[in-house]
Every structure is written in C-alpha cells, then in structure tokens.
C-alpha cells in the first residue's frame, strides 16, 4: 500500500509553498516591523484660530471630497459661488481663489492635503487644473 507519509514531487511542492508563504506574508516583510504612525496635520494659525472648518472636524475628514465635488458642480452649473453655513458664516465655494476659499485657510498643500493623501495613497485630481498656492517657507 502507498505510504501516506511520503510527499511526492517534494521539490516542486516546496517551491510552490515557498511562493505562497512569500506572497501572503508580503505586508509583514515589506514593512519589517517598523511602525508607521498616522501623519499629523499641520494647521495654519488662521485655521487654528477659526477652530472649525465649514463643518465639524469628523465630518470634514470623511466628507471633504464629496463637498468639493458638489461645490464644483454647483459653481460650474448654477454659477452659485457662495456657501453659507448653519452658523451664518459665508465661504467662497472655491479651492484656491482668495482668502475666503479652502486654501485661504489651509495655506500649505504639503502640510495639509498631501500628508494624509500620501499616507492613504490617494491622488486627487484637484491639482490637474488648479494651481497649487505658492508655499511660503
């Protein structure tokens, strides 16, 4: 009777299993135990003073892209350029024009946008058309 203990084609099976183990353990050996803490956003003084963006922080974190998408459509299709919050504050519905736009408060793209986007591997196409504000160092 066949001996159940024997592994046939031992070399080929071993190579296959080695490839399998290497593939599924990829995230472990790629990062090699080094910690990669989440990035800290650097807020400008103006943003710090305002305490809150156009909506609470948690909401902005999750929904900012949807807001920007909606704003773009509203500006382009309806020519409405002013957004007013529930508190009665008004903002310019624009990413990068003037003091009252997004980048008017969040002045540096590198410190504000890119940190999280790079960490989450998100490459928004905002800057395909918009010109990023000049970074003051």
């Amino acid at each position: 009777m066949p001996n159940k203990k024997q592994i046939y084609d031992r070399d080929k099976v071993a190579i296959g299993l080695a490839i399998f183990v290497a593939l599924i353990s990829f995230p472990f050996w790629f990062n090699m135990g080094k910690a990669s803490p989440a990035p800290e956003i650097k807020l400008s003084d103006k943003a710090k003073a305002a305490k809150q963006c156009i909506a609470p922080t948690a909401y902005m974190r999750a929904e900012h892209m949807a807001i920007l998408d909606l704003w773009r459509d509203t500006v382009v299709r309806d020519a409405k350029r002013v957004y007013s919050t529930n508190d009665g504050l008004t903002f310019n519905m624009s990413l990068s024009t003037g003091e009252n736009s997004c980048m008017g408060c969040h002045v540096t793209k590198a410190d504000f946008c890119d940190k999280c986007h790079n960490y989450a591997s998100v490459r928004p196409y905002c800057w395909d058309c918009h010109i990023a504000p000049k970074e003051n160092k």
Partner: protein, 333 residues
C-alpha cells in the same frame, strides 16, 4: 425558496449582525480588530499548507492528463503541444492558460434540443466570462487593499489604483473592480438559482462563499461611497497589525469592523472549503502532468521488492532429480 441558499444567506446575515453587535454595542474592538484577524490569517496559512501537503502525499503513478488534442506521435502527424503536452514547457503553458484564463471553462457548451428535437450544442460563454470577471476583479480588489498594509505604498499598487479609477467618476473616484466584483458575484449566484439543473446540484458550500463575498464587497463599497470612514485611522489600525504593534485607534466605525470580520471569516473558511480550488488546480494530475506514459518510464511508487525464483536457481535446486528423470537441463553439472 430553497433551503441551501436560504441557510447560507442566514449564516452571512448572522455573521454580519454578530460583528455589528460585538464591535458596535459590546465594544469588543480588540477582539474584532486584532485577535480575530491574526487568528484568521494563521488559520489560512497553516490550513492551506496542510491541504497542499496532504494532497502531495497521494501518489500518482500513472500520467492521467485530460487530453484535448493530438498526442505526440509520428513526425508527420502534427501534435497539439498545449492541449496534449508531452514536455514540461507544454505543461507550463497549459497550466498558465488554465489558471489565468480558465481555458477549460471556455470550452463549456450547452446541450439543447432545438425545435426539430435534434440535439444541438450551443456556445455557452457567460459562465466563463463571469468567472473571469469575478476572479480578476477580486484580484484587483485584493491587491488594491495593500495600500492599507504598506508604507510607503509601492508604485505598482498606485498604478493599479490609477487604472482602476480611470473613469474619474465622482469623489472619491469610483473603482471599477469593486463594481465588477459585486456584479459578477451576483451573476454567479443568480445563475445557480435560475438554471434548474445548476440549482439541483448547488449546496450551501456553493452559496455561502458567494454571499460572503457579496457582503464583503457591499460593506466595502458602502464605506467608500456612502457612509465614509476615517481612512487614516483605519490605515493606522492595519499598519499596526502588519508591523506587529497592534492598536485600535479611536474613531474607527463599526461598519469597518463588520467588513474586517467578514474578510476574516472568508480567510479562515478558505482552507476547509471549495475555495481551495485555487491551490487544487495546481495539484490536479489531470492538468499538471505531461502525456508521456509510453515515452518515459514511470515507476509505481508503492512497488515492493518481489521475491523471485529464477529458472537457473530452480535448476540448481533440482538438477540431480531432473537428470535422474531424464529431463533436459541447461547445465550438466
């Protein structure tokens, strides 16, 4: 209503609710965010290796490839080198086409009686197409998720994301593979329910992974496109897992834990299920052997040394008596 798919559906719903209540109400976030993922990963790795080694212990003494073309023969008869391979390279090409493009499924035909009660063989490519869409989009989804498990994110994964979001619809941009996965899995489920013959042979083991994958895809897309999650906190969690410094950051939504739990169930279930066809296809002797039964000698691995008694030995033993009886012998003395 069919017990088989109803049972599978209820199991997936129960798993969903279990994670929802466990992570959301009982706040057992460490269990769902750290302990279960590690346990599932270890179960998956050891289980798959165990199954493969177990299969490798079955001897295949005779070449039994399913041949689909002319075998190697006389020089003037043209061999089909891929469908009836006689060399290692032929086998490799055949396996690659099978694994990457499901060639044997492409041959699928449907037998039908047409109007004149004559048998007709019809092309049936939908299963092949859906299977191809399902597996490739699942691979794309899986590889894309590596962005949560690598820092910095490798260029190849970024490129895949770019290709996947090529339509630039909405924000966050739509990933095509997620929708393809959900659509293909739905088709594969509907096919099992709608075609009577297929429904007859479908078991909970067929429906359960489909429902599970549909639930995983649905929760993932729900998080990305509708309810939204704090992706930075989630990457903090996943990076903690792979750098072996697990921690649960604040502000990770319950739906994420449900998604993660369903993925863990899929991984842990994998080695014990039909999903092992992914390893099994490489181990199937009807695919991975060259058709060289006569060209090469294949020794049966469980052959034991047979005790033989040659004529020479026989004659040596009985020579005297043979000569006495007047029988012819090879050697006189």
């Amino acid at each position: 209503m069919n017990v088989n798919y109803l049972f599978s559906l209820l199991v997936v719903v129960a798993l969903f609710l279990f994670a929802w209540v466990g992570a959301g109400v009982w706040e057992m976030k460490y269990l769902f965010g750290v302990f279960i993922p590690y346990a599932a990963f270890i179960t998956f790795a050891i289980g798959v290796i165990y199954r493969i080694v177990n299969w490798a212990q079955s001897p295949v003494p005779f070449r039994i490839p399913t041949t689909c073309g002319q075998a190697e023969s006389l020089p003037w008869i043209k061999q089909n080198k891929i469908d009836n391979p006689s060399t290692l390279w032929g086998v490799i090409v055949r396996m690659l086409l099978e694994v990457l493009f499901f060639r044997s499924l492409f041959r699928n035909i449907k037998l039908e009686f047409n109007a004149g009660k004559r048998i007709a063989y019809e092309w049936e490519k939908w299963l092949w197409l859906a299977a191809l869409a399902f597996h490739w989009s699942f691979l794309a989804v899986l590889v894309r998720h590596l962005r949560f498990f690598t820092e910095p994110v490798p260029f190849a994964i970024q490129m895949l994301e770019e290709m996947d979001s090529i339509l630039q619809v909405g924000l966050p941009v739509i990933f095509l593979s997620g929708f393809a996965l959900l659509a293909a899995a739905t088709y594969l489920f509907v096919r099992r329910v709608v075609i009577p013959q297929v429904r007859y042979i479908s078991l909970p083991a067929d429906y359960f992974p489909l429902f599970l994958i549909m639930a995983i895809a649905a929760t993932g897309m729900f998080m990305r496109y509708l309810t939204k999650v704090d992706i930075i906190r989630i990457k903090e969690l996943t990076m903690g897992l792979v750098s072996l410094h697990p921690a649960i950051p604040d502000g990770v939504g319950t739906l994420f834990f449900v998604h993660l739990f369903l993925v863990c169930v899929l991984f842990a279930y994998f080695p014990f299920s039909k999903l092992m066809h992914s390893g099994g296809v490489l181990m199937s002797p009807t695919r991975n052997l060259a058709n060289n039964n006569r060209a090469k000698r294949h020794v049966n691995p469980w052959n034991y040394p047979v005790k033989v008694h040659t004529y020479e030995e026989y004659e040596n033993e009985f020579r005297d008596r043979m000569i006495e009886a007047g029988l012819p012998v090879d050697k006189k003395e």
